[in-house]
């Protein structure tokens, strides 16, 4: 394994400490609970929004804490849902009279930890509700199993509920918006290479020199199937078609289009992928009204991309366009 890592067990704490050091004015770090929070949170006049999930998906979610997005993120270790205590303590720390919204990507571990923490916080008298995100269309037969996974589409939910909360919406209204955005958001991803979790020290799975994994999960979970590498445009089609068909997205729709890099894919390739997705959508009469190209929800160093579509209406478009200031800074 060649990584910038000291002790693999300190991977997440050291990363969080780095994030806190890089954002001294805006973020506060509470090491006991892996908590990165807005330094001005909780605010009495707004719903507090918390996201958990495992680590290794940066910038999700620790780098999307800030004005107009999350109030706090309490990630678990790499690819592991946070221990229940982290969520419970974070909820108490960020409790606001307007309530707390827990954003949970739909995975068994996360769901259980957040459910238990919610129960305990309610018992303490905190107003707290939970919203599940499940945008990954690669999971088929989802009713039979554990439901769809929450992947890169969570960015749009965070952004929309963050904007609504910042504007003073109450908890039910924030939840209505979050559920609405989740309901019109679909994602699918593919991996060109496996990722290497620091504690494991070797790639999580093996892919041949010309093999790709279509429908891969952001924790390196296998996807729908293995396939041979194809030209970029064909790869994008493999992702876009199931996404388009699922909602479905149709001629006349306005959408946000996200090409999300999974960690090891260079920016140049993301734009090559974006180009084709944009063209296909335009040919189908779908208007790309907002574009997102970059890393939003990664899987450590995995080479690959996911494609996300969000069907827009005026309300969603306004919320996505609202200003936000997050730790992930470009200039």
């Amino acid at each position: 394994m060649k990584k910038f890592v000291n002790d693999p067990q300190q991977y997440v704490p050291e990363m969080l400490e780095g994030i806190a050091l890089a954002n001294p004015d805006t973020l506060r770090y509470v090491p006991e609970y892996n908590l990165i929070m807005r330094s001005d949170a909780p605010r009495q006049d707004k719903v507090s929004i918390i996201q958990g999930s495992g680590s290794g998906h940066e910038p999700a979610h620790v780098l999307t804490v800030g004005r107009g997005m999350l109030d706090g993120a309490c990630p678990g270790d790499v690819f592991a849902a946070p221990p229940m205590d982290y969520v419970y303590e974070t909820t108490k720390l960020l409790a606001s009279p307007k309530g707390v919204l827990l954003l949970v990507n739909n995975y068994t571990g996360d769901k259980m930890a957040f459910d238990m923490a919610q129960e305990m916080s309610l018992a303490d008298g905190v107003t707290v509700k939970t919203l599940f995100i499940d945008d990954d269309v690669s999971v088929q037969d989802s009713t039979y199993t554990v439901g769809r996974r929450g992947v890169a589409g969570n960015f749009f939910v965070m952004k929309a509920v963050g904007a609504a909360a910042e504007a003073g919406a109450d908890l039910d209204e924030v939840i209505r918006i979050g559920e609405k955005v989740n309901s019109v958001t679909r994602t699918m991803g593919l991996a060109l290479t496996a990722c290497t979790p620091p504690a494991k020290g070797s790639p999580l799975f093996e892919l041949g020199d010309d093999e790709i994994e279509i429908g891969v999960g952001i924790h390196g979970e296998p996807g729908r199937r293995r396939a041979k590498i194809e030209p970029a445009d064909a790869l994008v089609d493999e992702l876009l078609e199931p996404v388009l068909a699922d909602l479905p997205y149709e001629s006349g729709d306005r959408v946000a289009l996200m090409i999300n890099g999974l960690g090891g894919t260079p920016i140049s390739e993301l734009y090559i992928a974006y180009r084709h997705a944009h063209k296909v959508l335009t040919e189908r009469g779908i208007t790309v009204a907002r574009s997102y190209v970059g890393e939003y929800c990664t899987s450590l160093d995995m080479a690959g991309v996911s494609v996300t579509l969000v069907k827009l209406d005026d309300e969603i478009e306004q919320l996505l366009a609202a200003p936000a200031e997050i730790g992930l800074r470009i200039f």
Binding site: D77, A80, M84, M112, V146, K200, L204
Partner: protein
Amino acid sequence: MTTQSYRDTEFVVHSIAQTAVDNEKTFGDLDSVVGDGDFGFSLARGFEIVLADWDSYDRTDIGVFLQKIAVVITGRIGGTSGPIWGTAFLRAATGSKGRDELTGRDVVAMLRAAIEGIKARGGAELGDKTLLDALSPMTDVIEQKVGEGASSDEIVAAAAVAARTAADATVTMQARRGRAAYTGERSIGSPDPGAVAVAVILERLASEWSHRPQQS
């Protein structure tokens, strides 16, 4: 609290914790076949704390002791395993509240309570390819041996065999819960990490049972 039941409880919990810590890599590798590779890490980080704070837990009775352990596990283990294993310990604790002595039947009842707790928490059924598929057949065997009046050595040995056999049998199952479920048919062909962990723990208990601390 210095009964043999209490000593045995301590021994079992300590063995579970030590097994989790010792097998971090093995369990992690098992979880990376069709999962996400963190199972070993999650268990080890949590049970490490159990071992580190070993002397500090309230030992008023067996139930209280197990409840303290449950709180650590639930609160400090991430992933699916924290809530699942924590719930199991919590249910076992409830079943031994106020008790200094445990019969074989009590142990079976505690295991059944743990199994029901896991089912309630995670929504899994037998055959979904989870640790339940090792725990449940193992408990059946324990119950049978207890009924036959077997010695604790015999019971533990039989339980270990049952757990291993059951864990091996998960190879042909298709996962319907947990992260492995996303892979559908591709989950067939490798054992469930949680079930294997149960087998490894029981095998360790079986091999060390006769050397455990005994009332003199």
